[in-house]
């Protein structure tokens, strides 16, 4: 434990020495100096709004950019915070600083309650639901006049002083807004490097694959939503005291919600700098245009924002940051004289003690997996009927059968992606039939790969594996160490910083395996890992799987590449039309007439003569 902490401190100290860190500190320092020197209220206002909107966009980015759940109702939380603290101030004289926290808390609570059920909705429906949410809040604010002052809103009497979050001149406001922005940026940064952060971006890339890693995607989304809403609520309080007026049409404005999204998308969604860049790029220009164009400004503004949004989404989906990240990285390298990404100190890696051969089976090998009487139909078609088989500890069992026999469906039933119509599935003696969602089964120690591999495309190889290790590890450093072990085991060291989407098929299959292994499973289900590999790669894969088995992991393998089945499997189960038609040693099974008929067709053995 103490080792972990000292490692953490060393890690931080090293990071600070790095150009990224001190350049950022310098930039922050410059911003503060600028704030303190600006005296012109016009510019003061622009800067305050820039920082405020940047902070709001950052808070949206936590759920939207990192979590991939694009909401269009973020201003709803902004407003909830504003109204809450204002009402508490006016009716109960509660200090705005406390009211801010309470407002943020209420926003987080409402966010959690409303968004949690909405997370089941896919894509555009989720967006629409969040839009509807904001509209409802706006309508409620207009209607419940007694509470909220209706369409006219509530105004806060001006009283200068830090305690009241109000100041003469703009400097005080600018400082607070800037500080908020920095704080939220820091929180985002810390979150991104934590286990939670890796889980969040994993689920953004592929929810099913993430569930397989034992991660509860709904809980992660909920937490992200609440953090996001909390900050928006707090910022609402600030805005209330800045503008001294809280009214529904300004604060629950649909365009405002869209702006947060535009800043993040323009700057670079899912990054810390992105929303800041976007806000800095757009808000001042927009404000300046208001000065020059007057009447027509709003139209031009809408038009420009609209074209930008469409343009960026189509041509530069990763935002401005992706443009400038390589020159920026080169600058960093030049400054520090070393590679941009410092490798995490390896520390002491204990290579897993590998056994030369399989341990001899104990007298009573435990049953790891038991399938009994399983049935599954899709529509009218019976895909699995009355399927029985079992897998014992330490075995490698091959699951073979012609195309369409039901093998992948079987995997989906075991891992909780489909629900059986009848029958039982026992894992280590425990009934897991119908257990949902899939992460609950994965957490128990069942890992799988997918026939069509599901890499977390936008993440690097290391980040992929970290996501796998994140759930079981006690700390981020433990997770990093375990990932490092897996990277070495699977020969992925040279690819560790490459984005998963750039890997070849062979690489992606290895990554799929690595992710699954990172969860430290008891039972590993492999779905056609050999498909599409050339003979050399097949041989490598076979050796790898043997290594994995020697570590004590039980394997259930769907395969078509017979060579692999023959060299790996202790036992083979043959499935045809959703039923087991044969079981036994590989060499016996493939001579079985029933099996030959299933694969090659009825008359075949007779044609042999």
């Amino acid at each position: 434990m103490r080792e972990n902490r000292s490692m953490a401190i060393r890690y931080i100290l090293e990071e600070i020495r790095h150009p990224k860190a001190y350049l950022t500190l310098i930039a922050v320092g410059v911003l503060y100096i600028v704030v303190l020197s600006v005296k012109n209220p016009y510019w003061g206002d622009i800067l305050t709004m820039t920082f405020l909107l940047g902070a709001l966009s950052l808070s949206w980015n936590i759920l939207g950019g990192y979590g991939g759940q694009f909401t269009l109702g973020h201003a709803g939380f902004f407003g909830i915070g504003a109204y809450t603290s204002t009402l508490l101030l006016i009716h109960y004289q509660i200090s705005p600083w406390i009211g801010m926290l309470l407002g943020g808390g209420l926003a987080a609570l409402i966010g959690g309650l409303i968004f949690y059920p909405c997370f089941r909705l896919k894509g555009i429906f989720f967006c629409l639901a969040t839009l509807a949410f904001q509209e409802v809040v706006k309508i409620a604010a207009v209607h419940f006049r007694g509470l909220t002052g209706g369409a006219m809103g509530i105004s806060i009497p001006f009283k200068a002083g830090l305690a009241n979050m109000m100041f003469q001149g703009k400097t005080g406001y600018m400082l607070i807004a800037l500080s908020f922005m920095i704080i939220i940026a820091l929180v985002t940064l810390v979150m991104a490097r934590s286990r939670f952060g890796y889980k969040l971006v994993a689920l953004r890339e592929d929810e099913d694959a993430t569930e397989t890693l034992g991660i509860s995607t709904s809980r992660c989304k909920l937490l992200a939503a609440m953090i996001s809403a909390f900050f928006a609520g707090c910022l609402g309080t600030f805005y209330a005291h800045y503008s001294t007026l809280v009214d529904p049409y300004s604060i629950f404005d649909m365009m405002l919600s869209v702006e947060f999204v535009i800043f993040a998308i323009l700057g670079g969604v899912g990054t810390v700098l992105g929303p800041i860049l976007g806000a800095f790029a757009l808000v001042p220009i927009d404000a300046l245009m208001r000065g020059y164009l007057g009447q027509g400004q709003q139209g031009v503004s809408f038009f420009a924002y609209g074209m930008l949004l469409t343009g960026v989404v189509i041509f530069l989906p990763q935002g401005i940051l992706s443009w400038i990240s390589s020159p920026l990285n080169r600058l960093m390298e030049a400054l520090s004289g070393e590679k941009t990404r410092p490798e995490p100190r390896a520390g002491k890696i204990e290579p897993q003690a590998e056994r030369a051969e399989k341990p001899s089976r104990s007298m009573q090998p435990t049953s790891i997996l038991e399938i009994a009487g399983l049935d599954k139909s899709f529509g009218g078609l019976k895909v699995i009927q009355c399927l029985d088989f079992h897998v014992r500890e330490g075995e490698i069992v091959g699951l073979i059968g012609p195309n369409g026999a039901g093998k992948t469906t079987c995997f989906n039933l075991i891992t909780g992606f489909e629900e059986a119509d009848a029958g039982r599935i026992l894992f280590k003696g425990e009934d897991i039939t119908g257990l949902k969602p899939p992460n609950r089964i994965s957490k128990k120690g069942v890992a799988r790969t997918f026939q069509i591999v599901k890499p977390l495309a936008g993440l690097t190889v290391t980040e992929n594996i970290l996501a796998g290790a994140a759930e079981r590890a006690g700390s981020i450093h433990e997770a990093r160490m375990k990932s490092r072990n897996i990277v070495d085991l699977l020969g992925l060291w040279e690819f560790r910083d490459i984005k998963a989407s750039s890997l070849t098929l062979g690489g992606r299959k290895r990554l799929e395996l690595a992710k699954a292994l990172a969860t430290e499973p008891t039972l590993l289900l492999l779905d056609e890992v050999m498909a599409g590999l050339n003979p050399t790669e097949v041989e490598q894969a076979i050796q790898l799987i043997k290594k994995i088995s020697n570590r004590g992991i039980t394997l259930l393998v769907i395969e078509h590449v017979m060579k692999a089945v023959m060299s790996l499997a202790d036992r083979v189960v043959v499935i045809h039309h959703g039923q087991k038609i044969c079981e036994g040693r590989p060499q016996d099974v493939i001579r079985d007439p029933g099996v030959i008929e299933a694969y090659l067709g009825k008359g075949y053995q007779y044609a042999e003569g």
């Binding site: 195309n403 070849t504 056609e528 078509h560 090659l600 009825k602 075949y604």
Partner: protein, 234 residues
């Protein structure tokens, strides 16, 4: 009639088909057999214009078609009955057949085509107004083939017509395919069920990992030990 020469087909960076060459002549049944993932469906999709080969040529008569769009290939008379049938589930049997006749060339002969299809598959007439999604497996396959025939194909490509069907039904389908050949249509058959495919083929090609590793007359390959080995890894 249809000549495929050394095509390479890629999915992203994954090479699914490498240097495949074969041909199908009028009145012929040619089979492409191979295990799952060997590249059979990819080859058909390349011919159908759904997926452009990176190199190589596909010739239909005198015309090069490897760069043509899928709707143009259909107009030329090269029709695919896809794997898994891919019927329009919420359209009736009749509407599915009508869709089969979508191409301008086929539309003119709608009535005649319909008569022929009904003659081949009388059960479809009975089920005319039924939704395609409610038919049995065998009936769905018949509808899928019928739909393909409505397009007046010069080349008919069938992707795993026996998939998921009971043995008796498979026998029927095989017989039907033989009948279609007698009408002058060239048939390209892709199958995992090797025995059936080889026993009715004039010529067959064995695909493994995207490459053609063996070719020959159907009945000769039936007796060939190597084919059995390729499948069961003996």
């Amino acid at each position: 009639m249809l000549k495929v020469e050394a095509i390479d087909v890629y999915y992203g960076d994954l090479q699914a088909v490498q240097g495949a060459s074969f041909q199908v002549g009028k009145d012929q049944i040619v089979s492409l057999v191979g295990s799952n993932g060997a590249g059979k469906t990819t080859t058909l999709n390349a011919i159908s214009g759904l997926h452009r080969p990176r190199s190589g040529t596909i010739r239909f008569g005198e015309i090069n078609i490897e760069r043509r769009g899928s709707h143009q290939i259909v107009e030329l008379g090269i029709i695919q009955v896809p794997e898994g049938r891919m019927l329009f589930p919420e359209m009736t049997v009749m509407e599915n057949l009508e869709m089969g006749c979508y191409s301008l060339r086929a539309r003119k002969n709608f009535k005649n085509s319909l008569q022929e299809v009904i003659r081949l598959f009388p059960i479809l007439a009975e089920r005319k107004e039924q939704l395609a999604g409610t038919l049995s497996g065998g009936e769905q396959q018949m509808l899928a083939i019928g739909r393909g025939l409505m397009a007046q194909p010069k080349v008919l490509m069938l992707d795993e017509p026996s998939l998921g069907l009971a043995p008796l039904v498979v026998e029927e389908i095989i017989e039907t395919i033989k009948t279609i050949r007698t009408r002058g249509t060239a048939i390209l058959l892709v199958e995992q069920n090797v025995f059936h495919a080889l026993s009715i083929s004039d010529r067959a090609y064995i695909l493994e990992n995207g490459e053609i590793v063996m070719e020959g007359k159907g009945e000769e390959l039936l007796k060939n030990e190597k084919v059995r080995k390729a499948y069961l890894g003996l």
